[in-house]
Every structure is written in C-alpha cells, then in structure tokens.
C-alpha cells in the first residue's frame, strides 16, 4: 500500500515540478538572483493574505511593460513572506515590508525582490516611517511603545512610550504623516487620538482628539492635516459615533473643521492624497473624491463598488492614477484596478490575496 502512495506522491511531485517549470518560464525577469526590476518604474502590491495562514505575498506591476509579477518574494527567496503583510515603503533601493502577524519587518532589494535583512522585536507592527537615513519609527497595534530603528544598521535603537494612562492599556498606533519636525500618528483601535511626535527629541509632545477610530491621515499642500475616522462599530463598549473627516491645522494642531458622515453605517477607510496635494480620495461604498477646499463630503462615489467594497487605494503621485485593490471573496487572489483620476477604468490585474497596500518604485 505504501508503494502506491509513494507512486502517487512521486507523480504529484512531478506535476508540481512541471507546473513550477511552466511558471518560471513565464517569469522572464526571474533568475536565481531574483528579478531584475532595476530599470523599471513600477508599483509593489502588498497582498495581506488571510489571518493566521502565512499566505501574504508581494506582487509587482512594471509600469512600462504593464507586466504583472506575482509571488515576487516567494519566487526570489523560496520562502513565504509571512502572515498579514501590512504596509511597505521604499528608500533608495531598499524596500521595507511590515509583516504584522509575523511580528517582523523584512527589507528587500527593491530592484530584485531579494531578501536583505530582518528586524524582529515587535508585537504587532503596522507601519514604518523613515525620518532620515539614521532613523525611522515603527508603530504597533498592541505594543506600549513605538520603536525607533536605524535603517542603516537595521536595528532597534530605542522606543517611545505610548501607554494610555494605564499599565494595561496603550494607544494603538497606526498610520503616520510627516509635517516638518513632527510626525502625526493616528491611534485607531478603541482610540480617538492623534499623537504628535517630535522627531528631534523622539518624544510625544502633544495629542489631538478626533472622532473615534482614526484610521488614516494625510497632510495637504496647505499644511492641513486630514484625519479620517470610522467612528467605531455597532455594539462596541467603546461606543459608536458617526464617522468623520477632520481638517486640522498642522502648525497650530487646532481642529478647523469636522465633516460628519450622515449614517452610522458609514465606515470610510483609506484616506489618500494626490501628488499635487489638493485632492482627497477615500473608500466608502466605492471610491470618493473631494477637493481640499470642499466643505462638504461627497455624496456619491467617483467609482462604484465592483464586487465587495474596495480593500485599499493608492494614488500615483506623478500621474494621479488611482490604484484600487478588490478582495473578491477575501479567500482568493484579488484584483488590482487602475483608474484615471476621473474614475475611468484603465486596466486590471489578478494579484494576491487581499491586496491591502501599494508602494511605488521609481
């Protein structure tokens, strides 16, 4: 009987080998040292994967050839990326991928997809923000601290306390936006604070209270900080309120305007800004667009929902082309759509599971 299974297993391995060969034939930029994206402008698509399945992945869209490469990290390094790849940023030729539920940050060569280094010591890391060549910050959903790292050595060099008046509770730090010597840090889960971090002293110097659960923030061309809050969720002991978009003077830290969404069922996410810093985009039953001079929220989406609501968006800072991730049923490889700034569909690509973040490579 065992021989039968060995035979079956052998055939199976042959099938996989054959499939792998076919796949690699198609990956014409792939060789033993990884890919060659050195001369290509493109965008990395960070596919979160499913929670606790270790099936996050990295895709790359070459913007010149419009060829899409899936499983870039796996193919270049012969190992899985990890569990819930959450965000990515590039500095020079180094890409930093924050892998949330694996508790680590991988650095890769953004020209080849090859692994360069690993940084651990986090709890549930979310975003990496580079201040300069010697310093960056890493936010963490569950940690009492924001980690300070040195990108040149890829080591943790310090920490900033973000405990929230209790040894048991902390600000759940998430997205960051830079303004001068300050970094604004949104605190999303069961929180309503924007922390103000002084990069010269590495200390929290102020905080701003906004509507509950700020999930994304940007600073526009007029030095206004825009904060999108989802308002919490039904049944939450923390309370649910109307979602809101807040405009804050980044210099004075004063809230100038709060635009409240009309329904408790409105739970907007993913506020983005175009390259010229004058147009805002976010996801709410489709993709909505508004000018930074608008005083009212857009009532209709610029781009309607496709399958489920979009999972993520990003705006090309050069062309203002809109990139949007569609998770389909959340358990299969999702779709990447590209739209013109006015919402016309350009093209679409099949990427990995739950495309949740984008990172542009020059």
């Amino acid at each position: 009987m065992n021989s039968i299974f060995k035979s079956v297993a052998a055939k199976f391995q042959m099938a996989i080998l054959f499939f792998a060969l076919c796949t690699s034939c198609d990956e014409d930029n792939l060789d033993i040292k990884g890919y060659d994206f050195s001369d290509s402008a493109g965008v990395y698509i960070v596919n979160e994967g499913n929670y606790s399945q270790d099936n996050a992945s990295l895709s790359f869209l070459n913007l010149e050839s419009l060829k899409l490469y899936n499983n870039v990290f796996y193919n270049a390094n012969e190992t899985r990326l990890g569990d819930i790849a959450y965000s990515m940023s590039i500095d020079g030729n180094t890409g930093y991928i924050v892998i949330n539920n694996s508790g680590r940050i991988y650095s890769i060569d953004s020209r080849t997809g090859r692994f360069k280094g690993k940084l651990t010591g986090f709890g549930s890391p979310r975003y990496f923000h580079m201040v300069n060549d010697k310093k960056g910050y890493v936010t963490d959903l569950y940690s009492m601290k924001i980690s300070i790292i040195d990108p040149s050595t890829f080591e943790i060099t310090g920490a900033i306390d973000v405990s929230n008046n209790s040894e048991l509770n902390q600000h759940s730090t998430e997205q960051m936006a830079r303004f001068g010597n300050y970094v604004f840090i949104g605190c999303w889960s069961y929180d309503n604070k924007i922390l103000v971090l002084d990069t010269t002293t590495d200390s929290i110097v102020d905080s701003i209270t906004v509507a509950k659960q700020p999930n994304s923030l940007v600073v526009d061309r007029n030095n206004k900080l825009w904060v999108l809050s989802d308002g919490g969720f039904p049944g939450s002991a923390y309370g649910e309120e109307y979602a809101a978009l807040s405009r804050i003077n980044a210099e004075t830290k004063e809230i100038e305007q709060v635009m409240q969404f009309p329904s408790l069922e409105d739970s907007p996410i993913d506020l983005e800004l175009n390259g010229s810093g004058d147009t805002l985009y976010f996801i709410l039953r489709g993709i909505r667009r508004m000018s930074i001079n608008d005083t009212e929220l857009p009532s209709d989406p610029l781009i309607g929902m496709r399958n489920n609501d979009f999972y993520s968006i990003a705006i090309d800072q050069e062309t203002s082309v809109i990139y949007a991730g569609d998770p389909l049923d959340y358990q299969q490889n999702g779709l990447l759509y590209r739209f013109t700034p006015d919402g016309e569909l350009i093209d679409s690509f099949r990427v990995g599971i739950n495309p949740g973040a984008f990172c542009f490579k020059n």
């Binding site: 199976f12 399945q53 694996s102 508790g103 709890g123 048991l168 358990q331």
Partner: protein, 658 residues
Amino acid sequence: MCFRYQTVVIKSVKSPDLKVLLVFYAVLFPLLCHFPARAQNLTDTIHLQEVKIFRQEDFAEHIGSFSRIDSLMLNQNNSADLSDLLNQHSTVYIKSTGRGMLSTASFRGTDASHTKICWNGLIINSAMLGQTDLSLVPAVFLDNVFLYHGGSSLMTGYGALGGIIALDNKPLWNNKNSFSLINELASFGTYQTFINLEVKKNKWISHSRSFFSRSENDYPFYNQNVLPAENQRLKNGQYSRYGYLQEFYYRTSASDLFSVKFWIQYADRNLPQLLSREVSTARESQSDGNIRSVFTWKHYGRIGEAAISSGLISDRINYTLAQSAQGNVNINSQSGENSFINRFDFLIKINPKTLSRFQVLYNYYDVGITEKIHSEGYNAIRSELSLMAGLNREFGKRVSTFFLMRSNLIGKSFIPPMPSIGFALKLINDRDLYLKTSMTRNYNVPGLNDMYWIPGGNPGLKPEESYTADIALDLQFQNDLFSINSSITGYFSRINDWIIWKPTQYQYWAPENIALVFSRGAEFSVKVAADVDYAKIIIQSNYNFCRTSEFDGRQLIYIPVHTFNGWAGLLFNGYKLNYQLGYTGKRYTQTDIAQENSETFLEPYSLSDLSVSKELILQKISMNFNFSVRNLFNKEFQVVMARPMPGRNYSFILGLSF
C-alpha cells in the same frame, strides 16, 4: 485592513425556565410510570460483537446510514482522544491545529458546526460556537462510539447536517469488580495516567474513571517560513488536562434502569505560534472547564421502551493573548455556557413488524462572553423545543421502511418541518446483503456567536437548510474461518444559506447566509477478521470521496476530496501487532483553485503508526505492555496551513488491571 479579536465569556447564569421544566416532567413522568413493565433482561449489557459493523438485529432500527467505532479500537486506543479515533477509524475528516490542540470534525464535507456530538443522549456542542473540540474527549471515557451519517442523524437529534457522533457510557452487569491503571510515557515530555474502577453489587454499579495528561509538546520541525530556514522546536505548546467521570447505575428487578453520570474536566493549553511568527515574548493560552451531568431513567415495557434524561452542562473558556514585547495582555476573554438539556424517548412496538417512536427534546442555553480589556461581550439565552414522531414498518422478510417528522421551536420561531424517509431491502434471502436509501430535510440553527458576537454578530441569520439523500449497500458474511463486514454509501446534500464569516466595511468579520453548497461523494468501509490456528487477523479500512463545492464547482477550502485510513492487527499468543495507515488528500486553502500553484493548497500526506503489545497475566493481575511508533516514516505535514505537526514519535504504555 485590520482584525479585531475577542472573545469570551461570562455571565451570571440565570436559572432555566422552571415552568417549562415542570411541564416537561408533569407530562412525561406519568407516561413512564404507567408504561407496562416487561419481565426480561435489560439491554444495556454490552454484547459488542467485534467483527460486526452492522448487526442484523439493528436492521429495523438503523436502516439509515450508520457505523460505529469498534470496541476493539476503543480498547486499543485508550490513551487517545476522540479526534485520533475518528481520524484513524472512520470516514470523518478531522481538522487539527496541532498536537493536543483544537480539533474539529467535518462529516461528509460539511462544517464543524454541522457535526453534533451527543454524549449519553445529550448534544454537547457549544451553543455559542456550534462545535466541539474533539481533542478534549478522552477515549478512556467512552464505551461506545456510534456515527449517524447524514440524514439518519435526524433520528437522534437535529441540526447535524453532516452527522451525529454519539458517545455512550454503558454498564456491564457481570458482577465483577475491577480496577485498572494505565500509565503512558511518550515523546515531547508527555505523560498520561488513567484510572478505572468498577464496583458492582447485584443491582448497583459504580464506575469511576479519571485521567491526567500533560505534555511539554515541544516537538522539532523544520521551519521554512522564516529566514534563514532552520530547525526549531515548537514553542508555547504545553498542555495539561485532567478529568473525572463518575457513573452510577441502579436497576430494578426487571424493568427499570436509573443512571447518573457526572463528568468534570479541565484543560489548560498554551497555543503555539504560527510558523512565520517571530515574537518571542508572545503568549497565547486557553483554558477549558467542563462539567456535564445527566440523569436517566429507562423503562422497558412489554410493548416498548421509554427513557427520560435530564442534564446540566456548564462550559467555561478563558482565552488570553499577550502579544507585545512588554507582555501586556491585549485580549482577555472569558466565556461561560450553562445548558439545561432534556430528552424523552418513547418507543412502542405496535405489532411485530411495526414500531413507532416519539421524542421530545427541550434545551435551554444561557451563555455569555466578556472581553475584559475592552469590557465588551454579550449575554444571550436560547430555548429549543423539538418534537419527533416516526414509524418503522417491515413488509415481508426483506423490506423495511421508516418515516419520521421532526418539528422545532427555537425561542419563539418555528422551524419548518423536517421529514425523513427511507427503506432497506434485503437483496438475497439467507444473506446479509442490504440496499438502503433515505432522504431527509434538516435545519441547523446559527450558533449564538454567529448571532451576537461583538463585533459582527448577525441576529438576522437564518437557519441553514439541507436536503440529503443517500444510498448504501451493506454486506455481512461470516463462516468458521473469517468474517467480512462492508458498506458502500453514496450521498448527496444540498445546503442552502450556509453561514460564512466575511469581512465588512467596519474592518471586522461578520457572518452571512450566503452560500449554496453541494456535498456529494461516497463512503466505503470494510472489515475482515480471520481466525487462523492460534492467531487472529483483523483488517479494516475506510475511504471517503467527498466533493463539497459552491454552485460553481469549486471545492471548499480545507475539505479533502480523498481520505483513507487502514488498520491491520495481528493477535497471537498474547501479542498484538498493529499497523495503521492514514492518507489525507490535497486540501485547497484558497477558493480560486483554478489558479492552482503550490501556495494555494496543502500537500497530501500519508502517515503510518506501528505498535506492539504483550499481555502478561500473573495470578489475577493482568499486565499489558505497549510500545508505539507514530508517524513511522517521519513525514512532514500540515493539517492547517502554517501549523507544524510532529514527526516520528514514541509511546510506551504500561497497564495493570485486576
């Protein structure tokens, strides 16, 4: 997108609805008291016939699809848990996140909540989760394990769209006191001990069983999900469990049997990290506490039988997650369930060929969960009343039919009637070869977490509805040298409103009735036993072919199309040599299986176990030595993605009994 976690539990428990209870007993007690007595032997004595899967005398009663875990297998695996037993000796697929960790059953390709676990007549599935962790059911606490496949489960209970696994404890009226002590030492710092004491006196039996189990559970594995890839040992996988089961039986001279069973158990488990997880300070743990008790009165009359059972069940789960480098607890949830479960069965033989049966179930659940860090949770109460009436009728010597109808009242909502109809045909006179078929409609009500979980619970969920049909061929053959029992069954189920949790715009998951699922396939079982001089050889195997898909034909994730297990045993001169082979086919981990590559499915695997044991009898003391090698060929495999499983491991058991 982010994920929120939660859980847990608690709540002050309100007392069950006493009015309903009084009505229940006021109506049903007189029925028992006035049921004419039958002066014959009680049928609770165990007369298990090792070589029979399907007994002829069960023909009328079990013309549905039915199987059992052989008593021989129960005795051979008395240090195992129910998930091991089912995995190795049935067609049920077991999904496990690791050794000693959460294990759930998939019956005919259905979800874990579609398999109901019935302990001495009482459904013990969590009303909140809808499922039962089979790794927490020790085999040593079981005397019989019956499997009601598909629609045939409606005879025993409702909601089991996949099937019912019935676990029973039975008295053995042989007037012999006995004691046994079993100790096991196994790999990965594992130690187990089991104590069994039976005291019998005429009409009384007291049966006490207890166990203690602990393991460091630090098995080695090769981790390819970190860079650089390296050999590691499982971290944070320790567990300890202990439990006690007490049974009392009392029988009157002829017609009545009273029993009380009390099962208390506690399990404390650390939960290992994912393969890719690199947070050395993270701690995740869960403790499960269960108290289950049931009182049963059975009355055997001239024209039939009646039984009434009442049980109280209390389940607690505490879950904590400390995920940061500072060690602060991020999730601390506590859940509690108190269940009051009642069952009345009434069976009348109208004439030698006609049997009528009635059943009343009344269950009351009072549950709660609290997540302490955010002070969140819910409390909920549910009552379920189920009425069933059925008729079995034989026509001639070769045809038997049944029809039953069940109707449920869940809270204040009526569930549409659930009928089941079937027949069995004896194909050849004087040969035990039967053709059986049945059709059933069944409903499974959503778990209370599905309805009230914060965040995401959906109180508007509808019950899942299934239509099931199956057809089976059963064969039994026996002569002086050998016996064969074999069964092959084809099945088909259509399940509407299958509940699936999916992400929402709030960035958490919520359940919806979205899927129409088709499950079809075939189950095959065969057992051959032969006596050759001083040796006895037994070979048995099970195979399940299962295609479970949505309307577009895509196989559901984590449901293998092919599963197989085989067992061969050789008994001679006090020695037993056993070989176990299990094969689990490819399981998809994504729904877009058309884009198949090595990252979208888990590899098939086959595992082999080998054991040898020897029994020595010194005066009245029996000593049993057993040595086992599991995963003989040291195969790497994963049942659930990113969860490593143990390689080759060893076990030594010493048993004493008198």
